[in-house]
């Protein structure tokens, strides 16, 4: 935020300062990337045939959860939590599948926009209820979990519908090099295009301000009400993207919510976002999602029972949070 000040001071010390600041700001994400690199090496060692095909499969399989994690991050940053993300994904996914079923490819473009708009509307309803009823976020979104899941069942009683070919094609296969899956590029581009402008705008700043201290934010002229609603709208938008990617990767819409809500909370915490709000970014959780899935893949390669992989995910979650709070305590001392 103080880049203008830094650029004014033109010496090497300042640039080193920027570098150190970058490390400090993104320390958690960089650490996660380090763990990811180690994990990839481990994967290659235990399964020498792991290559482009494996990476592409991984990139496609993480797509819905990665969007769910980003959605959860948006809610958590403004000191909220959205337990309805899994249901919103189910609802947007079935709406997309119904709209695109046996229609022209061109109509599908319109359908995608409609679904994204639907996501924003769902998020706005969540946000408005949180703000105007003054009931804690966790209770409202818990109740909305039932509502959106019920709506999904109304739209489509059993798994069905279809996906446009081009939508499925953008997630499959490599881009330029065999090692770069289209799904990952898509993920990063979509998140970047939506998040970076917001992060750099006044809205992004108010998001963090409300998250770190709502009262201070209010007194500095930030509209806490609108910022909260906005954070839920953003969460709804990313949940819709998650729902779209569910339809795109499976080719159908499934009205029953997957385990995305709870896993998204796990990914957010692993990704270095403080549950108390106002601290963290969206890229840490995405890396955390990749790590969680890769651990699962590795355990399948090692012929470990997949149920033990669930146990491992839980233990990793607790372990990382304990280490995180330990570091926090040390820093405060």
């Amino acid at each position: 935020m103080s880049t203008t000040v830094d650029s004014a001071v033109e010496n090497t010390a300042a640039s080193r300062g920027i570098f150190a600041k970058f490390i400090r700001r993104n320390g958690w994400t960089l650490g996660l990337l380090g763990i990811l690199a180690v994990l990839l090496v481990v994967t290659k060692v235990i399964q020498p045939s792991y290559g482009p095909a494996g990476i592409q499969g991984l990139a496609i399989s993480i797509l819905p959860l990665a969007f769910a994690a980003v959605a959860q991050t948006c809610a958590v940053l403004a000191r909220g939590v959205d337990l309805s993300i899994g249901s919103m994904m189910a609802l947007t996914s079935v709406v997309a599948a119904v709209l695109m079923d046996e229609r022209s490819e061109g109509f599908a473009i319109l359908a995608v926009f409609c679904v994204l708009l639907l996501g924003i509307v769902l998020g706005a309803v969540n946000g408005a209820l949180v703000v105007f009823t003054r009931v804690p976020d966790i209770v409202v979104t818990l109740a909305m979990l039932f509502v959106w899941a019920g709506c999904a069942l109304l739209v489509l009683g059993t798994p069905g519908g279809g996906s446009a070919d081009w939508l499925s094609q953008v997630t499959r296969g490599p881009l330029l090099s065999d090692w770069v899956p289209k799904a990952s590029v898509l993920l990063l581009v979509v998140i970047g295009v939506i998040w970076i402008p917001i992060r750099r705008s006044r809205l992004g700043l108010s998001l963090y301000a409300v998250g770190s201290d709502p009262i201070a934010a209010f007194r500095s002229g930030v509209s806490v009400t609108w910022t909260k609603v906005f954070s839920y709208m953003l969460a709804g938008l990313f949940a819709a993207l998650g729902g779209l990617s569910l339809t795109a990767t499976t080719g159908i819409g499934t009205p029953v919510p997957g385990p995305y809500t709870l896993l998204s909370v796990a990914a957010v915490v692993l990704g270095g976002v403080s549950l108390a709000g106002g601290r963290g970014g969206v890229f840490g959780p995405v890396v955390a999602v990749v790590i969680l899935s890769l651990i699962r893949t590795d355990m399948t390669f090692l012929n470990v029972d997949t149920n033990l992989a669930t146990v491992a995910q839980g233990l990793i979650l607790v372990g990382v949070v304990m280490v995180g709070s330990f570091i926090q305590l040390r820093r405060e001392r």
């Binding site: 939590v81 039932f146 909370v265 839980g314 979650l317 607790v318 709070s325």
Partner: protein
């Protein structure tokens, strides 16, 4: 904390609007019973003749296991925590007994299940009390761990098979004299114990104190980690007992049996007037909350709506009740 001590008013306090609010704030049970009565009347209007002693027995039978799980949420929510592992723990304990009872006999199987539950609670308590992990994360992670281990256990025991012991079926599902569910035999002592703990012991007061103002309670000498460890162990053991009732009620032993009761248990506590932010609430409201949820789902199913509409109405009602309650009791 202002549960009982209020200065005696010179005139009936419910004659003024603020008096009504104060009454609702201090005695959430009054409006809750009102809501329950409205729902019962609604049931009668929708399906004339349905309300009977028998019907009441079925409602209570459905509400009892939920009320036990909601006791876990009430107590943890008083300390500004939450216990998301109750569903997994309840399923696990029911499943453990069903798979072990043929080998070890019922008493030992019950003991093993409760000890296993208590260990889960101990880990929850150590994590959130000593290591200061947010209870939401801690119990969520433990539910993943418990579910995974229960699945592993299921694969190990797949040959021996399982059966819900007949004692549990009697306890969970039977209704004596046409309207008294047997599960009350377990529930009434438990409910009295929970209310005694919360209202009449130092432990209960510490729960309120920690949730109301953690800093003040620490400064006045509360060792919150000890309280939290005991709290989460109690919560897990209660969840284990609820698991027995669930497996008896449905005559099914499955590792995901009680998972669907997790979110309703939070809802029951919230409807019952316990604040999720800590420091305010009690168990009596929660019990009525669980009963309200049971009646609501009975109404929704008697209306013959499809599952989808039922879910939507269920969610909408939780928001509505919570919003109305917050509106009425806010200062």
């Amino acid at each position: 904390m202002s549960l009982t001590e209020t200065p005696a008013p010179s005139r009936p306090r419910w004659t003024t609007a603020s008096g009504v609010r104060a009454l609702f704030r201090e005695r959430p049970i009054v409006p809750l019973f009102g809501l329950l009565a409205i729902l019962v009347v609604l049931s009668e209007v929708i399906r004339p003749g349905i309300v009977s002693a028998n019907w009441a027995g079925v409602m209570v039978r459905a509400a009892v296991p939920l009320a036990i799980l909601a006791a876990c949420q009430t107590m943890t929510m008083l300390t500004a925590g939450i216990d998301l592992s109750v569903g997994a723990v309840a399923s696990m304990s029911g499943f453990l007994v069903a798979t072990l009872v043929a080998d070890t006999g019922l008493p030992l199987a019950i003991l093993i299940a409760l000890v296993a539950s208590a260990i889960v609670g101990l880990i929850n308590g150590v994590g959130s009390g000593v290591f200061r992990v947010h209870p939401l994360i801690m119990t969520l992670a433990m539910s993943l761990v418990v579910l995974g281990l229960a699945n592993v256990w299921q694969l190990i025991r797949v040959q021996t098979g399982s059966g819900v012991p007949s004692g549990f079926r009697t306890l969970g599902a039977n209704v004596v004299f046409g309207f008294i569910p047997m599960s009350l035999v377990l529930f009434i002592p438990l409910a009295l114990l929970v209310m005694f703990l919360l209202n009449r012991t130092g432990f209960g007061r510490l729960l309120y104190a920690i949730g109301d103002n953690p800093v003040a309670s620490r400064l006045s000498g509360t060792k919150s980690w000890q309280v939290l460890i005991v709290l989460y162990v109690i919560s897990a053991v209660l969840a284990g007992l609820a698991g027995f009732l669930y497996s008896g009620l449905t005559n099914v032993a499955s590792v995901t049996l009680a998972d669907s009761a997790l979110l309703p248990s939070v809802a029951a506590a919230v409807i019952g007037g316990t604040s999720i932010l800590g420091g305010r609430g009690g168990y009596s409201g929660t019990m009525v909350g669980a009963l309200i949820l049971a009646v609501i789902s009975s109404i929704l199913s008697s209306l013959g709506y499809p599952e989808a509409v039922r879910q939507i109405l269920f969610g909408a009602m939780i928001v509505f009740v919570a919003a109305a309650y917050t509106r009425i009791t806010s200062d």
